[in-house]
Amino acid sequence: MATATSGLEAIDQTRSAQPPRPSVIYEWLTTVDHKKIGIMYIVYALLFLVIAGAEALLMRIQLAVPNNHFLSPQVFNQLFTMHGTTMVFFVGIPVLFGFGNYLIPLMIGARDMAFPRLNAFSFWLSAFGGILLYLSYFAASGLYGAGSAPDVGWFAYAPLTARVFSPGHSTDYWTLSVLLSGIGTTATAVNIVATAFCMRCKGMILTRMPLLVWLFLVTSCMVFVVVSPLTAAQFMLCIDRYLGGHFFDTQAGGSAILWMHFFWIFGHPEVYILILPTFAFMNEIIPVFSRKAIFGYPAMVAASVGIGFVSLGVWAHHMFTAGMGPAGNTFFVFATMVVSVPTGIKMFNWLATIWGGKVQYRPPMMFAAGFLFQFLLAGLTGIMLSVAPFDWQLSASYFVVAHFHYVLVGGILFSLFAAFYYWYPKVTGRMMNETLAKWHFWLFVIGFHITFDLMHIPGLLGMPRRIYTYEAGRGWEIWNMWIGIGAIIQTIATLIFVYNLVHSYFRGKEAGPDPWDAWTLEWATTSPPPSYNFAVEPTVTSRRPLWDLKHPHDTDSSYE
C-alpha cells in the first residue's frame, strides 16, 4: 500500500495562476461546488431555525399565564402553522441535506456530487420555497391589502384549506412553498443516490461505504416514495383552489379523510427522513469518541433499510381518532410497534460500540450521549401513543406535542449539535470553543428537560394543543410557566452556540486535517478541503481507510 500526495502540490501550484474571481457574492450565487452548496444549505437552515425558534418563544410567552392577551388568536394560529412548516421543510430537511451534500462526496472519495448543477438548482429551489413562505407576511392578500401568514396548521387539514374557509392567498403561499421545497428535496435525493452508487472511489464496495452514506442513501430512497405523495396532494389542493376541483370538497362528494391519508403517507415517514440522517451522525461520532469500530455494521445497514420499509406502513396512527374501524386500527398499532425493533437494534449497537471503549467526553460525544438517552425516552412515549385506545384519550393534546418535540429536539437537534461540533473543524479549519460548548450542552439539557419533560403533564391533564389561551384553575398554569422558563433557557443556550459558531470562525484554534483522530476519508484531506477535495483519487481496502493508514501493521482489511 503506497501513499502518494505528489499530485497535490502540482495542483496547488496551478491555483496561483488562476485569474482573480469577480466577487465573493458572485462566486457563492453561481457555485456548483458541493461543499459551498452544503454550507449554504446549513446557513439557510440555521437562519430559519432562529426564525422558527422565535415563533416558538412567542407562543410560550402567550401560554405562560392563563387568560393572556399578548397574542391574538389569529396571530397564534399563524405562529404555530409557520413554526411547524418552517421547522420541518426549511430547517430539518435543508440542514440534513446540507450535511449530506458536504460530507457524502468527501466520505466516498469523490470530487463532487454526481450532478453538480442539479445540486445548485435544488438548493435554490428550496431556498426560494422558504422565502416564498415568509413573503406571505407581506403579500398574502395580494393587491387587496396587507398580507398575513398561513394559519391552517402544518398539516393543513381539508376542508379548512378550501377557498370558502381560507379566502385570500395565505394558504396558496403555504401550498406553493411546500411544493417547491418538495421538488428541491426530490432532486437532491436523486443526486445523493446517484452519487452513492456511481461516484465511489476505487475499492469502496457498498459494504465498505461509511454508514453515514448508507443512511443518506436509505433516506433519499425514502424521499422518492414519501415526498412525491405530498407533491401529488399539493397538486390536488392547487386544482381545488385554482381550478374549482372537488378532491377535498365534501359538498361535492369529495373526502377530507383522503387528504389526511395523503398527508400522513408523507408526514409520518418524513420524521424518519429527518431522524435517519441524525442516526448517520451518531454512527460516525460514537465510534470515534469510543475509540472503537462500530459494532455490527451489517446489522446497522439492515436495520436502516428495515426502518425505511416499515415506516412506509404506519402513517394512519396519526388518524386513530378519525374512525378507521378495528381492522385498520389493529394493523397500524402493530405496524407502528414493529418500528421499534430495528430502532432497538440500532440503540443496542450504539451501546455495544461504547461498551468497553475509551470514551472521550468531547462536545460531540456529550451531545451524542444526550441523544441516546432522550431518543430512547421519546421512543417510549411513541409506543404509548401507538396504542389506539391510549391515543384516543390523548390525541391532539400536549402529550402528543411533548412526544414529537422530544424526538425532534431531544433526538434530532441534539444529534445535529453533535454533528456541528464534530465537522465544524473540517468545514472551517478551526476548532469550536470547548468551554462554550459545555455551557451550551448543560444549559440546553436543563432547558430541554424542563420544557419537554413537564410538557407531558398538562397533556395528561387534558390541555389540548393549538389553543391560544386557557382558563385559570385547571391545574395547567404552573406547568406552562415552567415550560416557558425552559424555553428561555434553551434560547440562551442556542445563542451561546451561535456565538460560538461565529467566534470560533475567527478566533478558534487551528484544527489541522484530522483533529479527532478519525477514520473516514473526509479527514484525509486538508481542513477546509480544497475545491477538488482529493488531488489523487483515494483507494480503500476497508471500512476505516485512515485506520489502515495510521496502523499499517494492523489494518482493518485483514479482519473484514
Binding site: M1, A2, T3, A4, T5, A114, F115, T186, A189, V190, V193, A194, T195, F197, C198, M199, R200, G203, S220, C221, V225, V226, S228, P229, T231, A232, A233, F235, M236, I239, D240, G244, G245, H246, F247, A252, G253, G254, L258, F262, I265, G512, P513, D514, P515, D517, W523, A524, T525, F534, A535, V536, E537, P538, T539, T541, P545, D548, L549, K550
Partner: protein, 200 residues
C-alpha cells in the same frame, strides 16, 4: 492528535473499477418518484369511482381510445429501435426511429386533445363539473403533461440527431431518454385500465 493524514492511494490497480452510469441510476430514481405521484392520483381516481353526485358519468361519455393507445405503445418499440441503432453507431436509423417516436407520440397527444374537446364542448364535462371530471382531467392531464415533456426531449434529440451531433458514444444518454419514455408508456397502461376499464 495525529496530523499526518495522507490520502490512501494504491498505484497498482488490480481490477478495473466500474461504476454504474449515473444518468441511468438518476432516471430510475426519478421514475420511482414519478411513480409515487401517479399512484396517489390513481388511488384518488379509484376511491372516487361512482362517488360523483351529478352527471355526466364515465359510462355515458367515455370511449376506449384504442387508436391512440396503439400509437403510444408502439412508440416504445421505435424508441427502443433508436437506442439499439445508436449502440451500433447507425445514426441514420437512430434519427429515423426517433422521428417515428415523435410522430407516434404526437398522434397520441392529438387523440387525447380531440377526446377532451369532445368531452368539454359536446358533453359539458369540465374539471369543475363533478368528482369524475376533477379526477379524470387531473389523472389523464398529468399523464399528458409527461407525454409533452417526453416529446419535447425526443424532438430536441431528433434535431441534434439530424444535425449529426448524436453519435455512438452518446448511446447511454439516449438510453436514459428511452427509459423515461418507456415509463410514460407503462403509466398509460395503468391509466387506461383504471380510467377506461375499471372506471367505466
Amino acid at each position: 492528535m495525529t496530523q499526518t493524514a495522507a490520502i490512501p492511494y494504491n498505484a497498482t490497480a488490480e481490477t478495473p473499477w466500474v461504476m454504474p452510469n449515473r444518468g441511468i441510476v438518476a432516471m430510475w430514481c426519478l421514475i420511482a418518484a414519478e411513480a409515487a405521484i401517479f399512484i396517489i392520483f390513481v388511488v384518488a381516481y379509484l376511491y372516487y369511482i361512482g362517488k360523483s353526485l351529478s352527471g355526466p358519468f364515465p359510462s355515458q361519455v367515455l370511449e376506449l381510445p384504442i387508436f391512440g393507445t396503439i400509437c403510444l405503445l408502439s412508440s416504445s418499440i421505435t424508441v427502443h429501435a433508436a437506442v439499439s441503432a445508436i449502440r451500433k453507431g447507425n445514426t441514420r436509423a437512430c434519427s429515423l426511429a426517433l422521428a417515428a417516436t415523435v410522430l407516434l407520440g404526437s398522434i397520441f397527444l392529438a387523440t387525447t386533445a380531440m377526446e377532451w374537446h369532445h368531452l368539454i364542448y359536446d358533453e359539458g364535462l369540465t374539471i369543475k363539473t363533478n368528482l369524475f371530471g376533477t379526477t379524470y382531467y387531473s389523472l389523464v392531464g398529468l399523464h399528458a403533461t409527461h407525454v409533452i415533456v417526453g416529446l419535447l426531449l425526443l424532438f430536441t434529440t431528433l434535431i441534434f440527431s439530424l444535425r449529426g451531433k448524436v453519435r455512438e458514444e452518446h448511446s447511454e444518454r439516449i438510453e436514459v431518454l428511452s427509459l423515461y419514455w418507456h415509463f410514460v408508456d407503462a403509466v398509460w397502461v395503468v391509466v387506461f385500465l383504471v380510467v377506461y376499464v375499471l372506471g367505466r
